[in-house]
């Protein structure tokens, strides 16, 4: 019965998880950006077919590819409207996969009985389409610029709330505060990155942001364990010994990960930084689980 109660307490904690009010805006801005690319692909294929008619060369039937991309785009829109970050991520990945599929088909088709005049026609025809696409992307990026500022500001407010809550208990929150300082610097870097017009610069912001969110959570776990340990030690919890032992192990693991995933605002290579982020998040999942299990263990031994 007690375990069942603990389960429901943890479940209630998960279901009341914080959501960022700026998430719908940022997802819709991102949807606009992706739709620029899909619309461009559609127009580019039509232009290519016109060139094939004009130069009397065969082209493959791209209608199935475009139909798939349109369906993907609908899924993306639905996820954005529902502010479902997880589904949005899946739909975005699917669009990436299906776009690559289309690019592969175009590459193979280019090897099939084409003339130099055909290629020249496509090269000339795509210039205005690319300009339109770039204008479309720039408009979407403007939406994303403002939404991302709100998004990070909301996160900082939430982070500060968590710091205040822990501080009130007497815990040392200096590690968490340091991450918030980095977050404020990140906001200052949003305008220059978007002003550059280089999507790689914008991606750097997201990579840094992802790392900071992870480090804040690690610091929070570290502060909590340090605060709770002496209280448990002087108390009479039935699971006292196990809580202390597992808490000690978890703190060691958190400290190791804090070193391994140390923050840097310099992103020399997006792929390297992204790979490190993936590794850091992967390693942290077990630690999050163990952290929550410690809370359940305290309740169980109360």
């Amino acid at each position: 019965m007690k375990r069942l109660l603990i389960f429901f307490v943890l479940l209630a904690g998960l279901s009341s998880a914080w959501t960022n009010d700026a998430l719908p805006d940022i997802l819709n801005a991102r949807y606009e950006y992706v739709s620029c690319d899909v619309n461009y692909a559609d127009e580019w294929l039509s232009m290519r077919e016109d060139c094939a008619d004009q130069e009397e060369v065969p082209v493959f039937d791209s209608s199935d590819y475009m139909s798939t991309l349109e369906d993907d785009l609908d899924d993306l829109k639905e996820a954005a409207d529902e502010a479902d970050k997880f589904e949005f991520g899946l739909a975005a990945v699917q669009i990436g996969v299906d776009s690559l599929d289309l690019l592969g088909a175009i590459f193979l088709d280019a090897l099939n009985n084409k003339t130099m005049d055909f290629f020249s026609c496509v090269r000339d025809g795509e210039q205005p389409l690319m300009e339109d696409r770039n204008d479309c992307r720039a408009d979407a990026m403007e939406l994303e610029r403002e939404a991302s500022k709100d998004y990070v500001n909301n996160e900082l407010d939430y982070a500060n709330e968590q710091i205040v809550d822990l501080e009130e208990t007497g815990a040392d929150t200096s590690g968490m505060e340091e991450i918030v300082d980095y977050g404020e610097e990140l906001i200052d870097d949003i305008d220059p990155a978007f002003d550059s017009g280089d999507i790689k610069e914008v991606r750097k912001l997201y990579l840094r942001h992802s790392r900071l969110v992870l480090l804040f959570r690690l610091e929070k776990m570290h502060s909590t364990i340090n605060y709770v340990e002496p209280i448990i030690e002087s108390g009479h919890n039935d699971n006292k010994d196990e809580i202390l032992e597992r808490g000690d192990d978890l703190r060691d693991d958190v400290e190791d990960l804090l070193v391994q995933c140390e923050y840097s605002d310099e992103v020399d290579d997006n792929w390297d930084y992204a790979r490190d982020n993936l590794e850091c998040w992967g390693d942290s999942l077990d630690l999050f689980e163990e952290f929550m299990a410690l809370g359940a263990l305290i309740l169980e031994g109360a």
């Binding site: 307490v9 904690g13 998880a17 914080w18 998430l23 997802l27 991102r30 950006y33 992706v34 690319d37 899909v38 461009y40 580019w44 993306l76 970050k85 997880f86 949005f88 991520g89 975005a92 990945v93 669009i95 990436g96 776009s99 690559l100 690019l103 175009i106 590459f107 290629f119 795509e126 690319m130 996160e155 822990l166 208990t169 007497g170 999507i199 914008v202 991606r203 997201y206 990579l207 942001h209 992802s210 969110v213 959570r217 909590t224 605060y227 709770v228 209280i231 002087s234 108390g235 919890n237 999050f288 952290f291 929550m292 410690l294 809370g295 359940a296 305290i298 309740l299 031994g301 109360a302």
Partner: protein, 72 residues
């Protein structure tokens, strides 16, 4: 004889009174938390601190969708 009985009765009542008072004192001592316990949160409050968001933040999904060009 009557006086002796009354004195014994008074003595008994006194013992009872002081005995109860003494017992009450001891109870209060054991029930009063010491300084450390005063600043400690209880187990429920401690367990509440062990909540953490586990979902990953929004990344750069969709920003790198491949688009066709004559270079393809």
């Amino acid at each position: 004889m009557k006086i002796k009985f009354l004195l014994l009765l008074l003595l008994g009542v006194s013992f009872l009174f002081f005995g109860c008072a003494k017992k009450g004192e001891e109870t209060n001592v054991t029930q009063t938390p010491n300084a450390t316990q005063n600043i400690s949160a209880d187990d429920q409050e401690l367990a509440d601190l062990f909540q953490i968001d586990t979902d990953r933040p929004l990344g750069d999904e969709g920003l790198d969708t491949g688009t066709p060009s004559s270079q393809n």
